[in-house]
């Protein structure tokens, strides 16, 4: 059995990559990920690897076989709650970060309670109405938080069409803004991961105090 690296070893390895000052900022931040599907699970893996200190994972759903083509779950995890499965996977990737899970559906009544400790919030739902609901709620009631939402990543159009747009001071939108899963054009792991990477990258840029998209 392999012995996992110590916390010091992992921290030092990250510091050597990006510098201690930046890693300190990552390690002391809290990011909430709303929805743990194709976007959320990929955002979580990216941020965990980057050394973000605290992740709040929120999803009510269970892993299904149809998720495996783009979501960061293992085949052996079908039937498990996404919160628990992802937390377990992250524990093996980045054993020393803090992962808080809420196996709940976010709505207009509970979003404040679930998200109030986050510095940055990632909207990673798959339904257009849920996206609009969360974005409206957070922008109205928690305008001081950074919010990175997503829209449009379906199909196999060029990867170059996925982009990050800064809408307001604290609100960013990632995706191509048009490719809708309801048009039956499918969802490809690479394109979804691309959008998730845009979101994760914007999180890290904000933590590095680079606020432009």
């Amino acid at each position: 059995m392999n012995i996992i690296p110590t916390m010091d070893e992992m921290r030092r390895s990250l510091d050597n990559r990006n510098g201690k000052s930046l890693q300190d900022k990552f390690a002391s931040s809290t990011v909430a990920i709303c929805g743990l599907g194709g976007l959320g699970s990929n955002i979580a893996v990216s941020l965990a690897r980057a050394g973000v200190g605290r992740l709040i994972l929120i999803d009510f759903d269970k892993v299904e076989v149809s998720n495996l083509h783009r979501q960061q779950y293992k085949a052996s995890q079908t039937g498990c709650f996404k919160t628990e499965a992802l937390a377990a996977n992250l524990k093996e990737i980045a054993p020393y970060i803090t992962v808080i899970t809420h196996t709940r559906q976010i709505d207009e009544n509970n979003f404040n309670e679930l998200l109030c400790n986050a510095d940055i919030i990632c909207e990673a739902f798959d339904g257009a109405e849920a996206k609009a609901m969360l974005v409206n709620s957070v922008l109205k009631k928690m305008p001081e938080r950074y919010l990175i939402a997503s829209s449009g990543m379906a199909g196999s159009d060029s990867a170059n069409l996925i982009r990050t747009r800064r809408i307001t001071d604290h609100f960013y939108l990632c995706g191509d803004e048009v490719s809708d899963v309801e048009d039956n054009i499918g969802l490809m792991s690479s394109r979804v991961m691309l959008c998730a990477a845009h979101q994760a990258h914007m999180v890290l840029r904000i933590l590095a105090e680079k606020y432009e998209a």
Partner: protein
């Protein structure tokens, strides 16, 4: 003239609700920012557009 998503429109005097009704936006899938302020759905009928206003409508599509 009112700037909506970067394009100028003649819409002075219309409420946000009236303007949106003339578009193909689905009110349940949008976020509207009017002069830097987020306008909730309940406020669309009460927000009257005036010349010089700047509006941003973000429309969400599904997938994730």
């Amino acid at each position: 003239m009112i700037k909506i998503n970067g394009i100028f429109h003649e819409a002075a005097g219309k409420t946000l609700a009236e303007y949106l009704a003339g578009t193909s936006y689905n009110p349940k899938r949008i976020v509207v920012e009017w002069n830097g302020v987020i306008v909730t759905k309940e406020q669309y009928e009460k927000t009257v557009l005036q010349n010089g206003d700047v509006v941003e409508v973000v429309s969400f599509v599904g997938g994730g």
